[in-house]
């Protein structure tokens, strides 16, 4: 009986998705705002990656909200998982196999470098603070797999996280003081396609990269700590 109801519900959902997908004219220009971003995005913001110019310039305030949501989720997880006691685990930690250990030591700096590259070049190439931060956090997952017993320093991750959030808000407030509204792009735009261009966008994306990277790796750290 339950299986029949489940299949019926699944069928209804599949029918709904299929009907709505056939109604969407894929590829057809639907809104004027998309055309506007494609045409005016590069001259107005200086960022050649139009996704970045939308995320940090046209819709910068929404991104601040997104970063805040991630921050609140991390705080909530920390409140649930660490209940005051930080007792040392008496179980002896088994070392990882030689191949995993060597591979992790070899790959960790490369992945870290790649994540940093992604968020520093967020205004030029695909990617940005969120993607770079997630890549950095996956490097720390590798450390927890390969080099057991190693921990990221809690103070360091908290510092990086708070500084990232602080820089985002301060840059926005400076814009409010200088240009009249929050997160205005008050620095010179520079030549598009060069590393030092697009005004405040690289600064904010570097801050977001540090913030997201430290938040996601501290989530992993808390979960692993709870397990051992």
């Amino acid at each position: 009986m339950r299986k029949i109801i489940g299949l019926l519900l699944l069928g209804i959902v599949a029918w709904g998705i299929a009907v709505s997908l056939t109604r969407i004219p894929f590829g057809a220009p639907k809104t004027k705002v998309g055309r506007y971003y494609v045409d005016k995005g590069v001259p107005e913001t200086g960022a050649t990656n139009i996704v970045t110019s939308v995320v940090l310039n046209y819709r910068g305030f929404d991104t601040l909200g997104e970063v805040t949501v991630l921050f609140i989720a991390t705080i909530g997880l920390g409140a649930v998982l660490t209940t005051g006691r930080r007792k040392k685990s008496e179980r002896k930690i088994e070392p990882a196999s030689l191949i995993l250990y060597t591979g992790c030591r070899f790959l960790f700096p490369l992945i870290l470098l790649f994540g940093t590259y992604i968020f520093i070049h967020g205004h030029l190439t695909p990617g940005g603070g969120f993607q770079g931060g997630a890549i950095i956090a996956s490097a720390f997952v590798l450390i927890y797999l390969g080099c057991r017993g190693r921990r990221i320093s809690e103070l360091g991750s908290k510092l990086a996280e708070s500084l990232g959030g602080l820089i985002f808000v301060i840059v926005g407030l400076v814009g409010l003081a200088v240009g009249g509204y929050f997160l205005i792009n008050f620095l010179p735009k520079g030549i598009p396609n060069s590393l030092f261009s697009a005004g405040i966008i690289p600064i904010i994306y570097i801050a977001i990269g540090f913030k997201v990277g430290s938040e996601l790796s501290s989530i992993i750290d808390k979960l692993v700590e709870e397990t051992e």
Binding site: N49, Q131, A134, A137, V141, I220
Partner: protein, 80 residues
């Protein structure tokens, strides 16, 4: 060329998704779910959305898998 590759990838993705839901060993199910994310990332790349592909590959295939594996170590490995 690309439509054929995308078609094959979608078939593989469907197989991985069904496998993730029927495996009794939850570690295998998590790996199958990671495969779904990885193929989704490749499809995003083929659809010219590299930003989303990057986020999907890093979060869906790496971090979510790690969180699930840690959760399985805390609870039970096999589904009854």
């Amino acid at each position: 060329m690309i439509p054929i590759v995308a078609f094959l990838l979608i078939i593989l993705m469907l197989i991985a998704a069904i496998a993730a839901s029927i495996f009794k060993d939850l570690i295998n199910a998590v790996i199958a779910a990671a495969l779904v994310s990885l193929i989704a990332a490749i499809l995003f790349y083929l659809l010219q959305a590299p930003d989303v592909a990057m986020a999907e590959a890093a979060i869906g295939a790496a971090l979510v898998t790690a969180v699930f594996v840690v959760a399985i170590r805390r609870t039970k490995r096999f589904e009854e």
